[in-house]
Amino acid sequence: MPWNPGDDVISVQRGPRPGGAGGAYRAFGETLRGLKTTFARVLEGPITIQYPEEKVPVYPRFRGRHRLHRFEDTGLEKCVGCSLCAAACPADCIRVVAAENTPELRVSAGERYAAVYEINLSRCIFCGYCEVACPFDAITMGNDYEMSDYNRSDLIFTKEMLLAEPFDRAPLRAEGE
């Protein structure tokens, strides 16, 4: 062997040979020990969660469905259509078409805004690179993890859907929970 493991090796304990007198004992004795283990767990109580009624709260870092944000004071969109999120996306699920802001139509705080902003959630792998890439915190990953739908086309989320306040469906975990 090209390498000497020294004292770092421990041999595991092999179980007894099955069958024979020991086997007859084990068929009862060890089964009872197993049952004891199982019944002791009953005292610990169930840990299952009745899912659709009861929901597991998510951590602050949880990466759920994306959200686009507006400035709270002005109501303008934070997204300036720079397409960095689309560039960062490993699954190529984001489509951004930028347009110029005009004095009559002011959508975002910057020079340009996203005229089209689509996320294809059936392609998204929820890696969160869009959130990492966005220099303006315009896109973040929200808490929502219930996104199933009957049609694939319904899973292409447009800008309006992403900007809208989501239903409060997935609870956020409180501090220290």
Partner: protein, 425 residues
């Protein structure tokens, strides 16, 4: 106007041609009759959709009665072209993709790829990042072994083991969600370190888990170790000696069960594994029982490593300060033009890696998980290849189960712990 004639559809597809070209009649030798009854070999397909194959694995089994005379694993049913896809993505975008190969060892996949890229870059990873990596890798190892134990016991008929194992797995996934935001495929390990520091309250959660876990492993042992059914199904069943395993390139718990203490964490330490005090459990015979106890003992050792990583967690940065590789901190984006330029450059093009090639092996839960990366100097890898342990270990199935009962084939396959996502990539 004549309607366009469609080409005849009777011509077999290349795949069908290939499949039919395998001559199975060679395996159907005449077997001497026993007790006057004529017996011949029966070739049977197990899978690809069989719950005991742990994924979409097709086994072409040649049976004589209930005895397996030959076995051919046929793979490719979940081939996703991940290695090829990786060639088209910049280095940091490859990380979430390679994580999806072996879907129970995502931290290991990311670690192998990031380690290979860091070697090519000649990048120093901060000590804190290395410890955080070890912490998550070992939690991932326990998680992977728990899935193995639960599903394997299920194959042997012990359904409650499945619930117990998934209860602890749930705790680990919860810890993963807390630190990285996702329960699976976390992309926590990044080139140069980890994506974010651990949040407040993380340490208490992991410590609580470490306090409970050894007791839980004892309980698993109480249920299974000396259970007469488990002993009959596993002990001295389908052993394979060390020499054959080495010839086949088998690594990980399967090799250690046969008595060879080959563990890359000790033999070629990476990511500060030399700082940790743990032992390598080895078996003696290399039968299914040894494979089972070795993994059970490994979980205990992993808990020890996690505790040591928490105790010795050094202060300092969690990702390299090299702005050519790692993204600048977010607060700098609003104040520093230079940081913003680096941010744009890294997100759109990614960092360039000097030309060269490297093979970076780490000890995955199933064995040696190596990542080969060749760079041509651009921001995308020219070739990414993973040496996945499940793929190499799978070829040991046939020598293991030859002349064993078909029921033992199920047990052996469970103890082999193949992950088809890793095999097909």
């Amino acid at each position: 106007m004549s309607t366009p004639t469609r080409p005849p559809t009777t011509r077999p597809t290349p795949y069908r041609e290939m499949e039919e070209s395998i001559d199975l009649s060679a395996q159907l030798q005449h077997v001497p009759a026993v007790g006057g009854a004529e017996q011949e070999l029966l070739t049977l397909n197990m899978g690809p959709h069989h719950p005991a194959t742990h994924g979409v694995l097709r086994l072409l089994v040649t049976l004589e009665g209930e005895v397996v005379r030959d076995l051919k694993p046929i793979i490719g049913y979940v081939h996703t072209g991940i290695e090829k896809t990786a060639e088209d993505k910049s280095y940091w975008k490859v990380i979430p993709i390679v994580e999806r190969m072996d879907y129970l060892a995502y931290y290991f996949n990311a670690m192998a790829f990031c380690g290979a890229t860091e070697t090519l870059l000649g990048l120093e990873v901060p000590k804190r990042a290395q410890y955080l990596r070890v912490l998550h890798l070992e939690l991932n190892r326990i998680m992977s072994h728990l899935v193995w134990l639960g599903t394997s016991a299920l194959d042997l008929g012990a359904i409650s083991m499945f619930w117990y194992c998934f209860r602890e797995r749930e705790t680990i996934l919860d810890i993963f969600e807390m630190s990285s935001g996702q329960r699976m495929h976390t992309r926590y390990i990044q080139v140069g370190g980890v994506i974010d520091d651990i949040p407040a309250g993380f340490e208490e959660k992991v410590r609580a888990f470490c306090a409970v876990m050894p007791e839980r492993i004892e309980q698993y042992g109480d249920l299974l170790n000396k259970n007469e059914i488990v002993l009959r199904r596993l002990r001295n069943v389908c052993p394979l000696d060390e020499a054959t395993l080495l010839e086949l390139g088998v690594t990980g718990p399967l090799l250690r069960a046969a008595g060879n203490p080959w563990d890359l964490r000790k033999a070629m330490p990476y990511s500060s594994y030399e700082d940790f005090d743990f032992q390598i459990p080895v078996g003696t015979v290399g039968d299914n029982y040894d494979r089972y106890v070795v993994r059970l003992a490994e979980m205990k050792e992993s808990v020890k490593i996690v505790e040591q990583a928490l105790d010795g967690l050094p202060e300092g940065p969690f990702i390299t300060e090299d702005r050519k590789v790692a993204l600048p901190p977010r607060h700098e984006l609003a104040t520093s033009m230079e940081a913003l330029i680096h941010h744009f450059k890294l997100v759109t093009e990614g960092f360039r890696v000097p030309p060269g090639e490297v093979y970076y092996p780490i000890e995955g839960p199933r064995g040696e998980l190596g990542c080969f990366v060749r760079s041509d100097g651009s921001s995308k890898p020219a070739r990414v290849h993973m040496r996945d342990p499940s793929f190499v270990n799978l070829q040991a199935t046939a020598p293991m189960v030859r002349d064993a009962y078909i029921a033992d084939l199920i047990a052996t396959l469970a103890m082999l712990d193949p992950i088809l996502g890793g095999i097909d990539r």
